[in-house]
């Protein structure tokens, strides 16, 4: 349970700086420090237990399906890292209080920093694979926020993005690895998983797991060749560099490898990949560090190098090497954090980090200089300092491995080279900055920093010395506990002493120090040598890579999507064709067993007429009015077909819709070009389109024929049987529409209503230019309303309305119904618009068509909702027969109310569409002054 508080307190602590923001800078810093300090205290209370091998655990269910639960545990390794995270974290908080300037938003900084602290604690305390990954990604995010803290600076933005991209990619690989581990082991609980190394090793997933896992670890810990993001992360404020990019976050990868050491190590693949990567990183980092003029750059590469060293140790696979690795984690964190802070002080007080300008600072800031030099010496591996001890152990272990078979001696040799390089750059850090003549053109005159800014450095340097001189006393137990957690077995014998006697590792150290000093002294030659090569700017390469990816993607995208409807349509039809016809290929016979209706001449005529007029519609599609005439014939024949094949309702509907459509087309033609070129595409395209059209047509025709000639057992018997008794009507189609499937109809009239609204919208704020003459150049006739047309249309109106009432009322029992009646009414009214014009109608029929739509919809709904009050479901219909003396028996049905809703909606929608378009053009025309 305590472990829970260690995590929770910093989580709460994220809010502290934001809340304390108004109380001043120091208060803000103090407030921030409270939570980690408390957590640290709790952590310290666990010390004895942890050292005794007890594990404090906490677990709570969160997402069992995913295997993600809140599972925490505090063992030696977690303790060690938590100690580093909280301890150095507190020092960084203190340091940052003085580092940040007035312009920087301190609360934001601290909040980000605390977020990061939480993330790191989460990683190290995790006892659940997915949870571990959760916090792992959180470190990437918080690191992004911290690196880009000075977001106005290009290098900060780019550095942050690069770091995020690389570590993010690694994180994804890690997720994959962890999920696979979970899949193989059947659990995501870390302590269970760790005991199942044989299962994992034996599974076929092991290679994939290892590669993906190491990708995650290596990217995070800046291992070669993924190391390049780290130097660019130095655009972050220095406290961030000290905390994230030396002491903690980059160690997350190391932590991960250490954590999973028992599970994944102990194979050749692990040894080769990890140790060689470590070695390469060690050398590349150290070598590059030597040539960096930027103080933080040097430290960054040095960090890379040391991370390589630790990785190398973990890769060696021996237990003692692992112990050495853990030991070096501690030491590096201590000296590197202090070095970064020192560098930050120098930067802060002198205004630059360029070592070519920084010279002889010892005079100006002797205390800081001394502190920095001690830390640097530790980095170089000078005896009596902590760095020396772990380096010694490393040297010893490199002698103890057989990774490369007969060539295994390369490893100690290269390790020594690495050591020498590290001595050289450490020397450079000491000499080039604090001595080496006078400073050149510094923006500020350097001096010692504020008292408390130096405290963190002092603390850390003292630790360097303490660990270096009394290793067993200071870190012996800690190292023990952490190492046993890593190895999950009893530890081999090992001793932490300052002095191991004269042995090969000592000799290697001596060689390294000697060669390193020589290298530094002869650095001019080296710089000259290096100067021949163009400096590789990782950022440029990375950005270039990203940009090239984007360019390639854009090219592919442009190739794929040409923003052409024709192409999209072609693909749609092609896919449809492929998918529909694929099953047909295996059809034995198109014709089925259903008896067919004998044909006759009239039908043949009509079929011929249909086909001819269809072809004409296509043929004339560029002579638009003609195409419209051909289309009308098609519609006419289709209506006749409906009538012939026993569907009078369909015939009526088709006819009325047809006419309204033609009217719409005519309205549209006025504004569209009257003609278009006969050949609108290349001949090849037309042939292609004809091909797909022919195939589509024949497939649809074939399916239609196959369907028509096969018997069908459908649910329709029910409708025929229940139409009269259940729905109260003899027109089964109409009863289906208003009763059995009234819900469809409700949706359908809604569609119509919405379409009218959409059209109204489309016509809003549109400026239409009307042609003053037809396409042949003949100006329009001056007579807007031919007298005979006006007169006859007007006298036909009552008749048409009566007919529509007739069709409406008998719809339930005979062909007809609300929809057709609505269309007839609408057409009759539209005819008045055509014959008399908009003005005339507006004066005589001031109807709000939107209101008509709305009331139609409401009536239809209400007729359905009404049944609720009788305890029935929505749209449950009711009918009954009544008798009135003198009139006789008649029927009343709720379905008729529903149909009335349909009727009104149809009128409203049709008129809103047509009359509105007409109205618009008229007002335009009047404004244009053409009348």
């Amino acid at each position: 349970m305590n472990v829970f508080w260690i995590l929770l307190l910093p989580i709460l602590g994220i809010m502290a700086p934001l809340l304390a923001a108004r109380l001043g800078r120091s208060a803000c810093a103090w407030a921030t420090a409270v939570a980690p300090f408390a957590a640290l205290v709790i952590l310290m209370q666990q010390t004895n237990g942890v050292f005794a091998g007890q594990v404090d655990a906490f677990s709570m269910e969160w997402i069992p399906v995913l295997g993600l639960n809140v599972e925490l545990h505090l063992d030696g390794l977690a303790y060690l890292f938590a100690l580093l995270i909280l301890g150095i974290g507190l020092l960084v908080i203190l340091y940052a209080r003085y580092y940040l300037s007035e312009q920087d938003s301190m609360p934001k900084f601290y909040a980000y920093l605390m977020l990061f602290m939480v993330a790191m604690l989460g990683i190290v305390l995790s006892n659940n694979l997915i949870q571990l990954w959760f916090f792992w990604e959180l470190t990437s995010i918080s690191s992004f926020l911290l690196i880009s803290f000075w977001s106005h600076r290009t290098d900060a933005r780019k550095g942050a993005r690069m770091a995020l991209t690389i570590t993010g990619a690694g994180g994804l690989a890690l997720l994959a690895a962890l999920l696979m581990i979970g899949h193989v082991t059947g659990t995501y609980q870390l302590d269970e998983v760790l005991g199942m190394s044989d299962v994992v090793h034996a599974s076929g997933y092991y290679p994939a797991i290892l590669v993906l896992f190491l990708l995650g670890a290596f990217t995070k810990s800046a291992q070669f060749p993924f190391h390049f993001w780290l130097p660019h992360a130095m655009a972050a404020p220095t406290p961030v560099s000290a905390y994230l990019h030396s002491a903690t976050m980059v160690k997350a990868g190391i932590f991960l490898m250490a954590r999973f050491f028992p599970l994944l190590a102990d194979t050749d693949a692990w040894f080769i990949v990890v140790s060689l990567t470590g070695m390469a990183t060690l050398l590349v980092g150290a070598y590059t560090a030597l040539f960096k003029h930027d103080l933080k750059g040097l430290l960054a590469y040095s960090t890379i190098s040391h991370l390589g060293l630790i990785t190398l140790l973990l890769g060696l696979g021996s237990q003692l090497a692992a112990i050495a690795a853990v030991f070096h984690v501690i030491n590096h964190a201590i000296f590197k954090a202090s070095l970064f802070m020192a560098a930050g002080i120098i930067d802060h007080e002198s205004g630059t980090r360029d070592m070519r300008k920084l010279n002889g600072l010892f005079k100006y800031m002797p205390i800081t200089a001394t502190l920095a030099m001690v830390a640097a010496a530790s980095m170089a591996g000078v005896p009596l300092l902590n760095g020396f001890l772990s380096k010694e152990m490393m040297f010893a272990e490199t002698l103890n491995q057989y990774t490369l078979g007969a060539l295994s001696w390369w490893i100690p040799l290269l390790a020594t080279v690495g050591g020498a390089l590290s001595v050289a750059y450490s020397l450079r850090f000491m000499h080039d900055v604090f001595f080496n003549g006078e400073p050149i053109g510094l923006p500020k005159t350097p001096h010692e920093p504020p008292r408390y800014m130096r405290v963190p450095v002092e603390v850390l340097v003292v630790l360097c010395l303490l660990v270096g001189i009394f290793p067993q006393f200071v870190v012996g137990d800690l190292l023990n506990a952490a190492s046993s957690a890593v190895l999950q077995t009893r530890l081999p014998e090992f001793h932490l002493h300052i002095w191991h006697g004269f042995n090969v590792p000592l000799a290697m150290s001596a060689v390294a120090i000697t060669v390193g000093s020589m290298l530094y002294i002869k650095r001019r030659h080296l710089f000259h040598f290096q100067g021949q090569f163009n400096e590789m700017d990782a950022k440029m390469i990375f950005e270039g890579l990203v940009q090239r990816t984007v360019r390639v993607a854009t090219a592919i995208q442009n190739w794929l999507d040409t923003d052409s409807l024709q192409r999209a349509m072609f693909l749609l039809l092609l896919l449809a064709l492929a998918m529909v016809s694929y099953p047909l290929l295996s059809m034995d016979s198109v014709e089925g067993s259903r008896p067919q209706i004998p044909t006759n001449w009239v039908v043949t005529f009509c079929t011929g007429l249909l086909i001819v007029s269809t072809i004409l519609t296509v043929w004339w599609s560029h002579r638009r009015l003609r195409a419209l005439l051909a289309l009308s014939v098609v519609g006419l024949v289709v209506s006749i077909a409906f009538a012939y094949f026993s569907a009078p309702d369909l015939a009526l509907t088709q006819l009325s819709v047809e006419v309204v459509t033609i009217l719409l087309f005519l309205l549209a033609l006025f504004f569209l070009p009257q003609h278009s070129p006969a050949l609108d595409s290349s001949l090849r395209k037309i042939v292609r389109d004809l091909g797909i059209a022919a195939m589509f047509g024949s497939v649809v025709g074939t399916i239609c024929y196959a369907m028509l000639t096969r018997p069908l057992h459908s649910i329709s018997e029910f409708f025929l049987a229940n139409s009269k008794s259940g729905g109260g009507g003899t027109n089964v189609v109409n009863v289906i529409l208003v009763d059995f499937r009234g819900f469809d109809t409700l949706g359908e009239i809604t569609v119509l209503g919405i379409a009218a609204l959409g059209i109204y919208k489309l016509l809003a704020r549109i400026t239409l230019a009307m042609p003053t003459a037809n396409s042949d150049g003949i100006p329009w006739s001056k007579e807007s309303h031919p007298v005979l047309l006006a007169l006859i249309s007007q006298s036909l109106l009552p008749l048409a309305l009566l007919v529509s009432a007739y069709i409406f009322l008998r719809g339930h029992n005979m062909p007809g119904g609300g929809f057709i009646a609505g269309l007839i009414t609408a057409i009759a009214l539209i005819q008045q618009y055509v014959a008399h014009g908009v003005e005339w109608m507006k004066q005589r029929m001031p109807i709000n068509y939107q209101g008509l739509i709305a009331s139609g919809l409401c009536i239809a709904i209400l007729s359905g909702v009404g049944s609720w009050f009788f305890g029935h479901n929505f749209l449950k219909t009711w009918y009954d027969y009544f008798y009135l003396p003198g009139i006789g028996k008649f029927e009343l049905a709720s379905a008729m109310v529903f149909d009335l809703g349909v009727y009104l909606t149809v009128i409203g929608a049709t008129l809103l569409i047509l009359a509105n378009l007409g109205k618009m053009t008229t007002s335009e025309r009047l404004r244009g002054g053409q009348e």
Partner: protein
């Protein structure tokens, strides 16, 4: 007998439809085509009425009525389009 007569008359009407369609195709002017279409509407009324007689039902009678109405609307709108461009003004 009546059935034969009906079929014969239907064929006559069908032929008429074809002839009108021919006029629709060859034009030569737009008004010719509109006229042809208008006549085809009327021919279709004949077809529908014959259908009703043949099936001995009054169900198709509204269709005929509607064609009569709608043919008129469509013809007058088409002519209006030729005259004025804008059919509703």
């Amino acid at each position: 007998m009546l059935a034969t007569v009906l079929l014969g008359v239907a064929v006559l009407v069908g032929l008429a439809l074809v002839l009108n369609a021919w006029r629709l195709i060859i034009g030569p002017t737009v008004t010719d085509r509109i006229l042809a279409l208008d006549t085809m509407y009327i021919n279709c009324i004949a077809l529908i009425v014959l259908l009703g007689i043949y099936f001995q039902t009054a169900l198709y009678y509204e269709a005929a009525l509607l064609i009569a109405m709608l043919g008129f609307v469509s013809t007058s709108a088409l002519s209006k389009y030729l005259l004025r461009g804008d059919i509703i003004e």
